[in-house]
């Protein structure tokens, strides 16, 4: 008996080895990924139709109540939501400046001088350090009392005066701007800070891209008399297309994901004027006034929908590459 089944079993496995093996290799990653990423996405989508403060009854049942699309109608009439959307758009548009700026820095650094590697890595620094730290630094820069901006401002618009008691005071013709406390300027201040690491990221993408630009084409272009901008536009940039594509994707995703700097620099204020969807969602879902998981999930769903546009485009491009590849 045993002698006849054993070879049979072995041969079944051998015959199906190539079908079974990939799933065995995939199982742990897939399981983990589903538990923490895939399933929560669907739970969030579902939760956006509920009102829930995150609590459970004594018998362990969730206290969530189904309210249909109410969260979404509330969102539609929520001025903070529209401010967040507006700021998200502002972030995306201004963040895009990181791409030409990164290209510019990359072109500047794409030389072979002694110590160039060292320079390149130092230029990349801002991307490596935490955005929390970047936010803190720029917060100090913008400080109207002692920040760099204030110091420069004082140089032009202020003079020292000695008051009656004999203390030195600083009188300004135009008051020092308090960027992060101004509803009109705070968002621009944060985006500017965010551009610093993002430019470094785009720079490294372009430096790698420039490494692979076909030198024969450049030489051919030179023989044809192409120089400077023309060379850049007609010969170099087309070859940098893959780098540009990735730069655009990571910049858009980075802009939509911006959370750390806002949390550090303004916490969405003043008066909610610097909120973006990612921060507003956090503020709504976990606030001091109790948890509003349902409403927060509705905001997250909107953000997810916006992101999915770009993710789908990215996947579609990847799919095209795959088809061509095989």
């Amino acid at each position: 008996m045993t002698t006849s089944t054993e070879p049979f079993q072995a041969s079944w496995f051998t015959r199906n080895k190539l079908k079974v093996a990939p799933f065995l290799f995939l199982a742990p990653a897939l399981f983990f990924f589903c538990v923490y990423v895939v399933i929560p996405i669907f739970q969030s989508l579902q939760l956006s139709l509920f009102e829930w403060n995150g609590l459970y009854n004594a018998d362990g049942e969730s206290t969530a109540t189904y309210i249909g699309l109410s969260n979404y109608t509330k969102l539609w009439n929520d001025p903070n939501f529209w401010v967040s959307i507006k700021n998200n758009i502002l972030w995306i548009i201004l963040y895009m400046l990181a791409i030409p700026a990164g290209l510019f820095v990359a072109l500047f650094l794409n030389q072979t001088v002694t110590g160039m590697r060292f320079y390149k890595s130092l230029f990349f620094f801002p991307f490596v350090i935490s955005q929390v730290v970047v936010g803190l630094i720029f917060g100090w820069f913008y400080n109207p009392d002692f920040g760099v901006i204030a110091k420069v401002w004082q140089l032009f618009f202020c003079e020292e005066a000695i008051n009656i008691v004999g203390n030195v005071t600083i009188k300004c013709r135009v008051p020092v701007p308090d960027i992060l406390s101004s509803p009109d300027w705070a968002t621009y201040g944060i985006i500017f800070a965010g551009l610093w690491p993002q430019i470094a990221y785009c720079m490294i993408l372009y430096l790698t891209g420039l490494n692979n630009v076909a030198s024969e084409q450049i030489e051919a272009g030179r023989l044809d008399g192409a120089k400077g901008w023309k060379m850049l536009w007609y010969v170099v940039l087309p070859q940098l297309k893959p780098a540009t594509f990735i730069a655009v994707i990571v910049t858009i995703i980075g802009a939509l994901r911006s959370f750390d700097m806002i949390a550090i620099m303004t916490q969405g204020g003043p008066y909610g004027s610097t909120n973006v969807l990612s921060h507003y969602m956090f503020e709504v879902a976990i606030s001091e006034y109790g948890e509003r998981y349902g409403y927060g999930s509705a905001i997250a769903t909107v953000l997810f929908g916006i992101m999915m546009i770009f993710i789908s485009y990215f996947l579609w491009r990847m799919y095209q590459d795959e088809k061509r590849g095989t």
């Binding site: 190539l18 079908k19 093996a21 990939p22 799933f23 995939l26 983990f32 990924f33 538990v35 923490y36 990423v37 929560p40 995150g54 072109l107 794409n110 030389q111 072979t112 001088v113 590697r117 320079y119 890595s121 130092l122 230029f123 620094f125 801002p126 490596v128 350090i129 935490s130 955005q131 730290v133 803190l136 630094i137 720029f138 100090w140 002692f146 920040g147 110091k151 990221y201 490294i204 010969v235 893959p242 990735i246 995703i253 939509l256 994901r257 959370f259 949390a263 969602m281 956090f282 976990i286 998981y293 927060g296 999930s297 997250a300 769903t301 997810f304 992101m307 993710i311 996947l315 990847m318």
Partner: protein, 282 residues
């Protein structure tokens, strides 16, 4: 090479370029230089409003010593290490297996599963926040080190799988064919043929994931409450609140938070950059 190599241009231009390079670098890193100078100031400078000028006294040792003795910075840094290292180990190993499966075998759902990992890696954190937090509370993982690294590991598996799959796909397939003809078991092919070949990818991935997770701030806020398990990013924010007028200490702590990723980057620079661009810019 583009732009035109500086070595071939006029000497005057070459000198101008080499002189401008350090100036540009200083301007570019001005924020970091400023925070470093602040971190070595004495409290006299801070009180007189000299935050960005040249320090009147240098207290490098005293300040950094104070950060370790007067604040919880050491605890935060330890937590960051305890969260980051297991994340790297788990996500990279899982992704090796998954990437191997997706790159080598031809089965119908290979591409859709691959895209699932890619898409998952790009989703906004907020869509995961409430369920993950709720699940952590339910399972007792809320406000623990494990709760944090388990989540990070699972999330980073998406990016790691994207990376490993593309890397393995680019290896010569003949190697596997030959091994199969020889009758080598599948897991042995993975272990003895593929794994030695993907070592550079492992290094690249590890340094990248280390940096990503070390710098995380959002999940530190979502999955923790107390001071006991906070990583350094959240810790720096807490310090910033507690030590309102001690900028020299806060900036010293911030720089400490930045040191490990910067150090790792310098150490494994080449790997880091391949990591950031692979699967993208070849």
């Amino acid at each position: 090479m583009f732009p035109y190599p500086i070595a071939k241009s006029t000497p005057r231009f070459r000198i101008a370029y080499q002189a401008f390079l350090p100036i540009a670098l200083i301007l570019w890193l001005l924020p970091l230089i400023a925070i470093f100078l602040t971190s070595v100031r004495g409290s006299k400078d801070i009180n007189t409003g000299n935050i960005f000028g040249w320090p009147t006294e240098f207290k490098l040792f005293e300040n950094y010593h104070a950060v370790f003795t007067q604040t919880e910075a050491l605890k935060y840094l330890t937590n960051s290490v305890l969260i980051t290292l297991p994340t790297v180990a788990i996500s990279v190993s899982l992704a090796c297996l998954a990437g191997y499966a997706l790159a080598i075998y031809r089965f119908r759902v290979a591409l859709p599963l691959f895209f699932l990992f890619v898409a998952g890696n790009f989703v906004p954190f907020q869509i995961l926040m409430v369920p993950v937090r709720d699940m952590s509370v339910q399972t007792g993982l809320y406000d623990t080190i494990q709760g944090q690294f388990l989540f990070h590991a699972a999330f980073q598996t998406g990016f790691c799988t994207l990376f490993m799959r593309n890397f393995i796909k680019a290896l010569p397939f003949d190697l596997i064919e030959i091994a199969r003809v020889e009758g080598v078991a599948e897991w042995k092919i993975f272990w003895f043929v593929i794994l030695p070949l993907v070592r550079p990818a492992l290094a690249a991935l590890s340094v990248l994931i280390f940096t990503f997770v070390w710098n995380d701030f959002f999940w530190a806020n979502v999955l923790t409450q107390g001071e006991q398990v906070k990583p350094i990013t959240a810790g720096v924010r807490a310090l910033n609140g507690q030590f309102v007028n001690n900028w020299h200490l806060v900036s010293a702590a911030s720089l400490l938070a930045a040191v490990p990723p910067v150090f790792i980057f310098f150490l494994m620079q080449r790997h880091f950059i391949t990591g950031l661009t692979l699967g993208a810019v070849k």
